[in-house]
Subunit: 215 residues, 2 copies
């Protein structure tokens, strides 16, 4: 019976995700679901993407956090449309919350919506939001063994961004070992190595974003 | 009705947590529940604690991971009793899993059990395990704004360990701002600043562990 309840919730979420997807597609807007641990650099990557592509595509942002509006205020300084979702304790975004956020965004004037999920390398993977691409960020200080420990998100990723690559000299992170582990689980994911401090790798990442935005 | 199911699960967990606590107390064994994001350094802190205190107290370890036994193998090299729990997808440890793990540990020969929870700064806070102390680790590269974004764990912490303090010169982490935010939410938590690479702060941390172990 518990399992039945869980299934009902999931399927309600999936239905809502499909509705989000249809709303996005009808406006020719692409959506990315950006997931990582707390502090891996989701907001920083979103900021870098806006700065790199603001002359080419129109970007809106949905910020998901348990509490606070720190990230929405940071992103808002870039003068792009941004909506903050506070989940009030929940460890992930759900499609219903994103649907309401999409209604607050001027979709007619956007090409891409970047959705920053709650910082959590586990639970967000279980909830579709209606996104076109799933982007997973792993920062160098977190270590290269995370594919084995948190397999779900890495298995479903369309792109994996290794962030804070400028910290490689100061942290134990074996890039070839990580890439090998990832390939064993997910052959299709594109991998980027970036630093939002030195801007290393941002150009390649922005190119991928651009080529995966439908406009 | 959904809420009722959730309540039933929580209360079953709480009952099991009380049973764990009674089993620990009857053997005069202290237990710490160690929680953090993925890659903040839970395993490294456990290793440093074992090395600092192995002549004073007898330590056992419970390793919680969604998948893999990487951490149990690492800790096992220190020749202490260790049990790996694989949650099989679940984003946190529950009291029932810890109860079975405790049965596999030689409690008669231990003073302290360090329980490494699944890497997740949200969900583990909702599930008591029967522990005596809750320890939250936040690593410097994660950033100093995490108290506001992930309030639950910081509010309940008995100790907060700022780890990877050797990375302060390379990351944006305002220690006074973090301490102020933490104090606004939790006045009782002891705070330690440590590096498992340079061993800075380990002695103070180990002293706190020693003085909070009942033996």
């Amino acid at each position: 019976m518990e399992i039945k309840v869980l299934k009902d919730i999931l399927s309600a979420n999936d239905q809502m995700a499909e509705r989000n997807r249809a709303a996005l597609d009808s406006k020719r807007v692409t959506a990315f679901n950006i997931m990582s641990s707390p502090g891996s650099g989701k907001t920083s990557l979103i900021l870098e993407t806006i700065r790199a592509l603001r002359k080419q595509i129109r970007i809106g942002v949905i910020e998901g956090d348990i509490a606070s509006s720190i990230d929405a205020r940071t992103v808002g300084k870039e003068k792009v449309p941004v909506v903050q979702i506070n989940t009030g304790g929940e460890c992930h975004l759900e499609a219903g919350q994103v649907g309401r956020a999409l209604e607050s965004l001027p979709l007619d004037k956007l090409d891409l919506v970047m959705i920053e999920n709650v910082g959590n390398l586990v639970c967000p993977g279980e909830f579709k939001l209606g996104e076109h691409k799933k982007v997973i960020i792993l920062s160098v200080p977190e270590g290269d063994d995370k594919v084995h420990k948190y397999p779900l998100l890495f298995a479903m990723a369309d792109a994996v961004v290794i962030s804070k690559i400028d910290l490689l000299p100061y942290a134990r992170f074996d890039v070839p070992a990580f890439l090998k582990a990832l390939k064993g689980m997910n052959r299709k994911a594109r991998v980027f190595q970036v630093s939002c401090t030195t801007h290393q790798g941002i150009e390649q990442w922005a190119k991928w974003v651009r080529s995966n935005t439908s406009r």
